[in-house]
Amino acid sequence: VGVTLSIVTHREPDATMRLALDGEIDLASAKALREAIHAAARDRDIATVIVDLESVVFIDSTGIATLIDGRKFADVCTTTYRVVNPRDLVRRVLEITGVLSHLGATA
C-alpha cells in the first residue's frame, strides 16, 4: 500500500504552524495526520495550527473524524485551529456532512 498523503509542516510568523497536506485522507492516512496535528497543537511554541487542504483530492468520514478530533485536541491545548482551502470534492464532502463551518474552514 503506497503512501496516500504527504504532510509538510511550515513554521510561519506569529507562532503559527501550517500543515500542508497533499493527497488523500482516508483510513490508511488518517493516523499520520492525527499524529501531526496533535504534535503541532501540543507544541508550546505554537499558538495557531492551520491544516491546509489545498492539495487534498479526497477525504472521507475517517478524515473528517480526524479533523474534528484535531479541533477538540487543539481546544484542550488552547491552541487556535483552522482548516483552510478545501477544494472541489473535499469542499463538497465537508458541506454534505455539515462540518464545514465547525472546522472553521475558509477560502
Binding site: 473524524a65 477538540k72 463551518s101
Partner: protein, 321 residues
C-alpha cells in the same frame, strides 16, 4: 368539519392516511396542515410530485410559513429521510412541536426499494419516540399493492380513512417490524465484476469504483458519489470486520449497483439514520452513504453483512418523475 384527532393525548403521533384520489387527499391533509399552523407548530410537507404541487396550489399564501420538500428527491433514498429530512427539521425547530406530512411510499417505488421504505416507516416510531411531533403518512389506497397497505397498518399506530380516525390493531413493535424486512437479497449476477478489500487497499477500491462507474455510464458527479459511498462501506469492512471484505459491481434495471459484503454485523437498526452533532468525532460513515446513494439495501446477521448501494443511470427515468 373534521375532527382533529392529533390532540395532546400522544407526545408522538404517527398516523397513516389511506386516500383514493386528490379530493380525499386534500380533504385530510389541508386541515391537518392548517391545524398545525393555527397551533403555532413548525410544519414540514415532504411529499412527492404531483401531490406537492397540488398542496402548494391549495395552500396559497399559507405555503409561505411551511417548509416544502420534494420527497422524490430529498427522500429518493428512503434510508436518508430520517437523517437528512425529518430529524434536521426537528433540530431547526427545537422547543416547538413539529407537524409533518411525510409520503415516503408512492406508485413508482420499485420492488427493490420497497423493503427499505417499510423499514424507514417502522423506524420513525423509534427515532421519534418521546418527541413532540405528529407525522402523517399518506398512502394511495388504490394504486399501491395491498401488501403495502397491510404493512402500513403494522408501521403506524393510528390509521385515517375517510372521516374515521382509529388505532391500528396491527401495529407492532417497531424494531421487530423493521427486522422483518432485513431479508436475504437476490443473488448478484454471475457477470458482476469483483475485487477483494484487504490491507487498507482503499485506493484500489476507489480506482475500481471509478473505472466501473464510468464504464457503466454514471455522470461525473455520480461517479464521485459512488466512490465516496463505496469507500465508506469498504472502510467499515476494514474497521469492523477483521480488515477484509468483498466488493462487487453490476448494472440492474437502470441502476449501477455496488455491493460490499463482510463478516461484520450492523446491530443498531438506526445506524446511519441519526444526524451526527457537528462536534462528534465519528459516526458519519453510514449516514454519508445514505446521503450519496439513491438506495441502500442491507442484509445483516451476526457474522454476515451485505450492503448494496444503488445509483440511477442518466436517462433511466423513473415513474415518480
Amino acid at each position: 368539519v373534521r375532527v382533529e384527532a392529533t390532540a395532546t393525548a400522544h407526545v408522538f403521533d404517527h398516523p397513516a392516511l389511506f386516500y383514493r384520489d386528490h379530493d380525499d387527499y386534500l380533504d385530510a391533509v389541508i386541515p391537518f396542515i392548517r391545524a398545525g399552523l393555527d397551533a403555532g407548530e413548525a410544519v414540514l410537507v415532504a411529499v412527492p410530485e404531483p401531490n406537492l404541487g397540488l398542496l402548494r396550489d391549495v395552500l396559497g399564501t399559507d405555503a409561505a410559513g411551511i417548509e416544502m420538500d420534494d420527497m422524490g428527491g430529498a427522500g429518493r433514498n428512503p434510508g436518508r429521510i430520517l437523517g437528512a429530512v425529518l430529524l434536521p427539521f426537528v433540530g431547526k425547530h427545537s422547543g416547538r412541536r413539529v407537524r409533518v406530512v411525510g409520503e415516503p411510499i408512492w406508485l413508482g417505488r420499485s420492488v427493490t426499494e420497497y423493503p427499505a421504505c417499510a423499514q424507514h416507516e417502522a423506524l420513525i416510531n423509534v427515532a421519534f419516540a418521546g418527541r413532540e411531533a405528529t407525522i402523517l403518512c399518506p398512502y394511495h389506497l388504490d394504486g399501491l399493492h395491498p401488501r403495502i397497505i397491510e404493512d402500513a397498518k403494522r408501521t403506524h399506530p393510528a390509521l385515517w380513512q375517510d372521516d374515521r380516525r382509529f388505532a391500528s390493531s396491527r401495529f407492532g413493535d417497531p424494531i421487530t417490524v423493521a427486522e422483518s424486512f432485513n431479508t436475504t437479497l437476490p443473488p448478484a449476477p454471475l457477470a458482476a465484476v469483483k475485487m477483494s478489500i484487504h490491507d487498507l487497499n482503499l485506493g484500489d477500491v476507489r480506482d475500481f469504483v471509478t473505472a466501473h462507474a464510468i464504464e457503466f455510464g454514471l455522470s461525473k458527479d455520480r461517479v464521485d458519489d459512488a466512490v465516496l459511498a463505496v469507500n465508506e462501506l469498504a472502510t467499515n469492512s476494514l474497521v469492523h470486520s477483521g480488515g477484509a471484505g468483498r466488493l462487487a459491481a453490476w448494472i440492474d434495471h437502470g441502476q449501477v449497483v455496488f455491493q460490499v459484503s463482510d463478516t461484520g454485523h450492523i446491530k443498531d437498526p438506526l445506524a446511519g439514520r441519526t444526524p451526527a452533532p457537528v462536534d462528534q468525532i465519528g459516526g458519519r460513515g453510514l449516514l454519508f452513504v445514505h446521503r450519496l446513494a439513491d438506495l441502500v439495501r442491507i442484509h445483516t446477521l451476526p457474522g454476515a453483512t451485505t450492503v448494496r448501494v444503488f445509483f440511477d443511470l442518466p436517462g433511466a427515468e423513473r415513474d415518480y418523475r
